[in-house]
Subunit: 108 residues, 2 copies
């Protein structure tokens, strides 16, 4: 499946209000999220060594290692592995995450 | 630099007409491209094992291993390492690429 159309991928609600579509290469997962206003990402960490979060649209209050910022279109956050992070969608949001290694837990 | 604003990153014209901004984690590079209409990506391949190309806006004729498709908003292409690919922007385009390993050649 080299050529993919996102709309044809099934949506998966991983956390309540977080609707994701996932594209995996061998080593990397891109997650395309549509997030409901008010949806909350609990404080968590994962062994995945790197995650890059890119806010496409909306406003998202993001807390990384105790520091909270409001992400807007064009905001990017680089999160090393095992660092706690949490957040809440202030408005409906579109976010793209890149994970390394690939999120095998998100594969079907 | 955990929190980044894309507009504050310098732009780098890697290939004529391909204006990129780059965010690196330890293992992954995200490239945010603004591409001029008519700009051409020559046929090439790289050892980087994976690249995921996500077309955000515009139309881009993309050739992967001899097969050409027109990418539009929501198109994604997964490219294994060392597989030849090429392309041409039919209209102005915005594209996000994910590379593994990180593109050290794109670091400043």
């Amino acid at each position: 499946m080299a050529f993919i159309t996102l709309n044809e991928l099934g949506e998966n609600e991983i956390v309540p209000g977080f609707h994701g579509r996932f594209v995996h290469s061998e080593h990397v997962t891109l997650a395309f999220w549509d997030i409901d206003a008010g949806a909350t990402l609990p404080d968590h960490a994962h062994a995945h060594e790197q995650i890059i979060t890119h806010l496409v649209a909306g406003e998202f209050a993001f807390t990384l290692a105790g520091e909270t910022r409001t992400l807007r279109a064009g905001s990017v956050v680089v999160i090393p592995g095992n660092v706690k992070h949490a957040g809440k969608a202030i408005t409906p949001c579109r976010i793209i995450d890149a994970f390394y290694p690939a999120r095998d837990d998100y594969r079907k």
